[in-house]
């Protein structure tokens, strides 16, 4: 075989020094490098997106975990809480605790006279502000007649204002001595230095910006021709008036709701400025001044609310009240227990995820207790006992296809079969669980079959070899060894079910439900449905709630996937 004559028929040997070969090797290295670089880039891109999404959610959601309340001393007046004096829990429950809260708040900021202002003040509170006191009275009626310190829940807008999400607040210390002309009503503040000059410049700049706006609107109106003649004339007049104001530096300027709000904090009071010149300002007193005495340089300040009043929810007077309460140390930012202990609510500050969380858990209980036994037994039968014929082939193909059916179709099925045919109640976790069980059944069957296939056939043979029946071999040996894989598949299927919204849409689980469900037939919603509902609401506070609920959902999913990984690594066997 090693005959010399045979060399002529041997294949050509590569010349590793030829240029062609060197180029080939270079090309191979380049292509390997390219592949690595592309893979790395893909990884980095993915990481960037994941981090961007997660950090956005966390940044938006974290504020929802705290909630501002007012800590006030509230006299629990017997004539309000229990006018009949019977201490009957029913009467105690229905008493007007909010009135007590309103009174306590009025005491905290004295000197507010006008009806409109008073309404604004009590509007800072949540409609559920009295709930805490009600619960305390019901738990211990002996506190009636005493004065207790309770947290008064603030409304969602006040809460957002205090979290600094509505406007930036700039406080500029003063340079001159200020003299207010009074303590209430319209007053003028004169300053010895030109304390308002900077603000005046800012206002003039804002005017210049508005002139540009108006000019572009004018151009559009002119482009439309004759029909807009009056509009054009109006705009021209306005531009002329604005530029007259803008180009006269130092002249007194009127402030309006479209400009940043200016206030003067002086002598313990707060004045909202309406007109300013370089050295004097006229405005309305929101919080009465303690006195009309002169204020030394540095003892008073000009406060700017950068976002114009017309662009935010909390008006200047409400902001003034909140700032005053904060300065008095009455505001507390506490952990938001309501979020974890309440169901949904139309008031953002009273809305919680407990209802939807319980709904989701109830649904998953139904899903698991149906899908796991049915799925595993179906898998065992198909994998080990079913005769291999056309019928079982058809069933197998259908099961595999079922895993790819859009989930909304399962919802329609649930609507047609469980609600319309069997007459089960709408919005019930039982129906949701049934629908989700159908959804995860193929996942579990496929996972269980795969993990049973992964058990070496030698184990089954060994069992058969000592005289175990087929069924004994499966249930004593194959199935226990497949259990980690089945559990992993089941948990991942459950996580899938937990995040599913579309099928719930069809069976009425996408609903506003206040009460936390107590059983499988109570109306309920699910976590992802709750997220969808909140994301649709206009109130700004729900934005944070939505992100916070997403965090909870992701946390639960992460927990479930972690459990799956842990089970897999704990029970994984190597042969």
């Amino acid at each position: 075989m090693t005959d010399l004559t045979a060399t002529s028929v041997l294949p050509r040997r590569a010349n590793f020094d030829s240029d062609e070969m060197v180029a080939r090797v270079k090309r191979r290295y380049r292509s390997e490098w390219r592949f690595k670089a592309l893979g790395g880039a893909a990884l980095v891109l993915t990481a960037v997106f994941v981090i961007a999404v997660l950090s956005d959610i966390v940044i938006k959601g974290t504020p929802a975990f705290t909630q501002h309340s007012l800590m006030l001393d509230v006299p629990v007046r017997a004539d309000v809480v229990d006018p009949k004096g019977t201490r009957n829990p029913e009467d105690l429950r229905s008493a007007d605790y909010f009135a007590l809260m309103r009174e306590a708040l009025a005491t905290a900021i004295p000197g507010i006279e006008g009806r409109a202002e008073k309404k604004r003040l009590s509007g800072l509170l949540s409609s559920g502000a009295g709930n805490e006191l009600r619960d305390r009275v019901l738990a211990d009626p002996t506190i009636i007649g005493t004065t207790v310190k309770v947290p008064l829940l603030l409304s969602d807008d006040s809460d957002i204002y205090l979290k600094g999400k509505q406007t930036r607040v700039l406080t500029v210390p003063s340079r001159g001595t200020a003299t207010p002309s009074g303590t209430t009503g319209e007053i003028t503040v004169l300053t010895s230095a030109n304390d308002f000059a900077d603000d005046l410049v800012t206002v003039k700049k804002a005017l210049a910006a508005r002139i540009e706006d108006e000019k572009s609107r004018l151009a559009i109106a002119e482009g439309r021709g004759e029909s807009q003649a009056s509009e054009v004339a109006n705009l021209k007049d306005e531009i002329a008036a604005l530029s007259a104001r803008a180009h006269q530096p130092g002249v007194e300027e009127v402030l309006d709701g479209k400009m940043p709000s200016l206030m003067v904090a002086i002598n313990g009071g707060l004045v909202k400025l309406n007109r300013i010149s370089a050295s004097s300002a006229t405005g309305t007193v929101y919080i009465p001044l303690k006195s009309a005495d002169e204020a030394a340089p540095g003892a008073w300040s000009v406060v700017t609310y950068e976002r114009p009043e017309s662009n935010r929810k909390t008006t200047d007077i409400e902001a003034a009240f909140l700032e005053k309460l904060r300065a008095d140390g009455k505001v507390e930012n506490r952990f938001n227990t309501i979020f974890f202990t309440h169901g949904d609510s139309r008031d953002a500050e009273l809305a919680g995820i407990l209802g939807s969380l319980v709904g989701s858990i109830l649904m998953l209980i139904v899903t698991l207790s149906l899908a796991l036994p049915f799925g595993v037994l179906a898998a065992v039968y198909l994998e080990e006992f079913a005769p291999k014929n056309k019928l079982t082939n058809l069933i197998e193909i259908n099961i595999n296809n079922l895993a790819a059916v859009p989930s909304i179709v399962f919802g329609l099925l649930g609507l047609a079969v469980f609600l319309n045919f069997f007459g089960l109640p709408r919005s019930a976790p039982l129906v949701g669980g049934l629908v989700l069980a159908l959804l995860v059944l193929p996942t579990i069957i496929i996972a269980a079959r795969a993990s049973m296939k992964a058990v070496p056939p030698s184990i089954k043979e060994a069992a058969l070899g000592v005289g175990a029946s087929h069924q004994q071999a499966i249930f004593h040996h194959v199935l226990p060894l497949a259990t980690p894989g089945i559990m992993t598949g089941t948990i991942i299927g459950m996580a899938h079910a937990l995040g599913e919204t579309a099928p719930l849409l069809m069976i009425g689980m996408l609903a506003f439900i206040v009460d936390v469900p107590q059983g499988f037939l109570d109306p309920a919603t699910a976590l992802p449905a709750q997220i969808y509902i909140w994301s649709d609401l206009p109130e700004q506070a729900f934005e944070a709630k939505t992100a916070a609920a997403i965090m909870i959902l992701l946390g639960v999913l992460l927990l479930m996937n972690g459990l799956a990984i842990w089970l897999r690594s704990k029970f994984e066997r190597r042969w």
Binding site: K388, S458, A462, L464, G465, V466, G467, Q472, R573, W575
Partner: protein, 273 residues
């Protein structure tokens, strides 16, 4: 039923006794095996004596393992497999529909090519068979069976202090002896061994061979092997298979010293295979 009874009588009439004078334990008459269209085993006739070791030798794919797996009907698990002809153990047709295949496998133990202990404790590995067949009346009974089986398999001294350790943690040779202990724990009449030493090193092989030699006093052992030296060392009778047919069967010394068929001659001298 008449057909089967007639067949059985026929089988008894032909050869209830092997040439060596020992009672025949396993008898095959015109046994054929098909895997779908493939005719894997062609008309095998053989008498295998009780209390002794019979070796099946032959090149790969000659049908020796196929025949071995017919004897405890392990081929039933392959759906395309079909067996015709007549195989009896103690004159009882093992393919008789009235025969319970699970009981058959309890009577005919099997040891596989690759050691395949259950991923359970050593104790549970051995105790599994007696448990499912109800051979132990009490825990003490079961302990007795386990220790006796492990002792017979020559493993007792090595594992007596760690019976609750996993069987898969043993070395390859120990695992194979554990599998033998598991097989003899249900006290079978026949033990089938499908190349039991092919995955073992020479020292472990020697131990298993010694064990086989000890066991032959009590069991009918049939061993499939690729190693002719092993066949020569452990068996009293040897059967040579080639291309699905049983070429020759006889006392081991005769097969290796003066085979009557030229194909056997070629195989044992290394010219085919």
């Amino acid at each position: 039923m008449d057909m089967t009874a007639a067949k059985r009588l026929e089988a008894e009439r032909i050869a209830p006794v092997t040439q060596a004078g020992l009672p025949a334990k396993v008898v095959a008459r015109d046994a054929n095996v098909y895997y779908g269209e493939k005719h894997a085993l062609k008309s095998v006739n053989v008498d295998i004596p009780d209390r002794g070791v019979t070796a099946f030798i032959g090149p790969s794919g000659c049908g020796k393992s196929t025949f071995l797996r017919c004897i405890n009907r392990m081929n039933d698990t392959i759906s395309s497999c079909r067996v015709t002809g007549n195989i009896t153990i103690d004159n009882r047709d093992i393919y008789d529909p009235s025969l319970d295949v699970v009981q058959l496998r309890a009577r005919v133990g099997m040891v596989f090519q690759k050691p395949n202990p259950f991923p359970k404790s050593i104790y549970d590995n051995v105790a599994y068979g007696p448990k499912i067949h109800g051979l132990a009346r009490s825990k003490a009974d079961l302990d007795e069976i386990v220790s006796a089986s492990l002792e017979k398999a020559g493993l007792w001294n090595e594992v007596k202090d760690r019976l609750l350790d996993s069987g898969t943690g043993l070395s390859g040779g120990q695992q194979q002896r554990l599998c033998i202990a598991r097989a003899i724990a249900v006290n079978p009449e026949v033990i089938l061994m499908d190349e039991p030493c092919s995955a073992l090193d020479p020292i472990a092989t020697a131990k298993v061979e010694t064990l086989i030699d000890e066991l032959r006093a009590n069991y009918c052992i049939i061993i499939v092997t690729h190693s002719m030296q092993q066949a020569a060392r452990v068996s009293q009778r040897t059967a040579f298979f080639h291309l699905g047919t049983l070429v020759e069967e006889g006392p081991t010394e005769k097969i290796f010293s003066s085979p009557s068929d030229p194909r056997t001659q070629d195989y044992i001298t290394g010219r085919i295979g």
